[in-house]
């Protein structure tokens, strides 16, 4: 399955933040969206999710996404927001169960089958023991896993993740990246944003470099993430160091 953005422009109050974005995402691939703060990453995500009005076409397997109902769309594209705390002390099961909303009738709560799907999604991520815990009292890493479990309960084809590694400690960042690779291995299409180009080198099939609302480079990380592109996006000089295993690391130059 593929998700195609054809000339997408979107913004707030008539002011366009992203202009004429064209991109193709495949299931089983990881696309990493890189760019400085305010470059339009979140705006682009909102446009894909239908949370913002946008011009241009979004196609899923050559079918217009605007022709789908909100629920049909939610069964294809799931959203993993940044870690947050809801205003009420929901249990982990409550939170994951909301992922089954696109499968429920508009006037009824989820049913038995939905609860089974929730258990499955939680088992897949190894958090089935957290079911009765208060979501607000979990650690950041656990909360991230709960939000991913909720998205998996939607059984989507594409997962849109808004900075899944921010707010996480060093170890959990890596575990999340590994998890993302596993999910892509199960034929899920993943689009994520990150502020750490190293993460793109680790897991991304493709990188899209977003700058001032335009994609300035798009392709394999080893090809796209050059010193020039990184300097243009972030305004700093970066050395790209290749480790003996072949993986690349970014080392920003610092002071004298």
């Amino acid at each position: 399955m593929n998700l195609v953005l054809d000339n997408i422009s979107a913004g707030y109050n008539g002011r366009k933040v992203v202009h004429g974005i064209c991109a193709t995402f495949q299931t089983g691939e990881i696309t990493c969206l890189l760019g400085p703060n305010g470059c339009g990453k979140t705006t682009l995500f909102k446009a894909i999710l239908g949370l913002l009005p946008s011009s241009g076409k979004i196609l899923i397997d050559n079918k217009l996404i605007s022709g789908l109902s909100r629920k049909e769309r939610a069964r294809i594209v799931a959203y993993v927001p940044q870690i947050h705390i809801p205003p009420f002390p929901f249990t982990v099961s409550d939170v994951v169960l909301t992922g089954r909303t696109p499968f429920t009738n508009s006037f009824s709560p989820p049913c038995e089958k939905d609860r089974q799907e929730v258990v499955k999604a939680m088992e897949l991520l190894g958090i089935e023991k957290l079911g009765n815990r208060n979501y607000a009292q979990l650690s950041g890493g656990e909360r991230q896993l709960v939000l991913i479990a909720r998205a998996l309960a939607q059984s989507p084809k594409f997962l849109i993740m808004d900075e899944p590694t921010s707010h996480l400690d060093f170890g959990n960042q890596l575990r999340t990246i590994k998890l993302i690779s596993q999910l892509a291995g199960n034929n899920m299409g993943i689009i994520l944003t990150t502020h750490v180009p190293d993460h793109a080198f680790m897991c991304a099939t493709n990188v899209a470099a977003l700058y001032n609302g335009n994609i300035i480079a798009h392709g394999k990380p080893s090809v796209i993430l050059t010193c020039e592109v990184l300097r243009k996006m972030y305004g700093i000089d970066v050395d790209i160091v290749q480790l003996s295993g072949g993986r690349c690391l970014c080392a920003p130059s610092y002071g004298g």
């Binding site: 999710l49 239908g50 909100r70 809801p86 205003p87 002390p89 929901f90 909301t98 208060n134």
Partner: protein
């Protein structure tokens, strides 16, 4: 001696067994699968217990009061009414039961259920546990309507109608203003701020009406209305308000899962396939209808819409499919309990609004201090 003790022991064992069987049965009914969480089964149990407590409270309230009516009298009168030929033995008891106590009991149940249920819905939809039904100006509007009705010497039915209509008007004004203010999409904040504008404005108008009202007759009447009471309700008021309250409650019961999802914020709810704008309109309209219908027959009764949803949330958790029915039942029980106290405890009847505040304030403090809370 020995024998009696044995029998008693046997009896108490049987009772214990029976109780165990009943709780097992309830648990089995709710726990028919492994996937149900502890919280779900606890929630179902609490709902059953709250329903049972409400029924017991109804009978307690029927037998309580200045005129003595025993449980056997009640069953005699009811069975007398059921068998048309059979004439009731005690006409006075019949009158007390059906014309005095029953309307008040029903009113307490409807008003308590409406205020608590709409409070829970407002808290869910505005994602704020500190919100209560008066948020969007419905009570301020209802108060102004009632005050105007009293000022113009309207009948009780007309006063209720004016209070109901002004309550709805206030919320319509709030919604109208918030749709003008809200250009960016954070409609929740716009709603709350515009509710403050409407509330302040209507309260100022209310003060104006009080200022111009005759201080010997009209002003006390308005003041007493504002304190809240169920002393003057009759069956006709209740049938109208009851239908309106049920009409408001039905869509809320159907949408209770969507309200749950909306507690995670608009964008997440929309990405999960919820039509948030439609759900918000229906929930606000239904909750407002319930509150306006309740306030129009009871006057100002504060605290229930804030405290009872909190209590319910602490017992059954925040998941709305369970929280809403639990809030409704507990609100009905609480107001019926307080109103029964109001009828009998003091030589003169204390207005309900005063009692709910006096009972509610320390109760809320204890909830905050010792209850398990998740939002701080």
């Amino acid at each position: 001696m020995h024998g009696v003790f044995k029998v008693e022991l046997l009896y108490s064992c049987q009772l214990k067994d029976n109780m165990k069987n009943i709780t097992d049965m309830i648990l089995k009914m709710t726990l028919h699968s492994k996937t149900k969480t502890k919280q779900d089964s606890k929630g179902a149990l609490v709902i059953v217990l709250a329903g049972a407590a409400l029924i017991i409270m109804i009978f307690a309230a029927l037998t309580t009061g200045r005129y003595p009516v025993s449980m056997t009298d009640i069953f005699d009168i009811i069975s007398g009414r059921l068998h048309m030929g059979h004439k009731s033995t005690d006409g006075a008891a019949d009158l007390v039961l059906f014309s005095v106590r029953m309307p008040r009991i029903l009113a307490a149940i409807f008003v308590g259920a409406a205020l608590s249920g709409s409070g829970a819905c407002y808290q869910g939809i505005f994602r704020n546990p500190m919100v209560e039904p008066s948020l969007l100006g419905v009570t301020a509007g209802a108060a102004l309507g009632a005050a105007l009705g009293i000022l113009f010497s309207a009948s009780i039915a007309e006063i209720q109608a004016m209070s109901f209509i002004m309550g709805l008007t206030a919320v319509l004004i709030t919604s109208g203003m918030s749709s003008v203010v809200n250009r960016k999409g954070d409609s929740t904040l716009a709603f709350i701020l515009c509710g403050i504008i409407t509330g302040t404005l209507f309260t100022a108008f209310l003060s104006l009406v009080k200022y111009t009202a005759d201080p010997d007759s009209k002003l006390p009447a308005i003041t007493y209305w504002l304190m809240g009471s169920l002393a003057t309700v009759n069956m006709k008021d209740i049938s109208v308000s009851g239908v309106l309250i049920i009409a408001g409650l039905i869509p809320l019961m159907f949408l209770r899962w969507r309200i749950n999802v909306m507690a995670f914020g608009d964008e997440e709810a929309r990405s999960l396939g919820v039509n948030t704008a439609a759900v918000r309109v229906v929930v606000i309209a239904s909750s407002t209808l319930m509150t306006a219908a309740a306030v129009s027959i009871s006057g100002m009764i504060g605290w229930i819409g804030l405290v009872i949803p909190h209590l319910a949330r602490m017992i059954v958790g925040p998941s709305f499919p369970v929280l809403l029915p639990a809030s409704v039942l507990m609100g009905a029980f609480f107001l019926l309990f307080v109103d029964t106290i109001a009828r009998i405890a003091f030589p003169i009847e204390i207005p309900l609004g005063i009692l709910t505040a006096i009972a509610g304030a320390p109760f809320f403090f204890f909830l905050l201090a010792y209850g398990k809370r998740g939002w701080i």
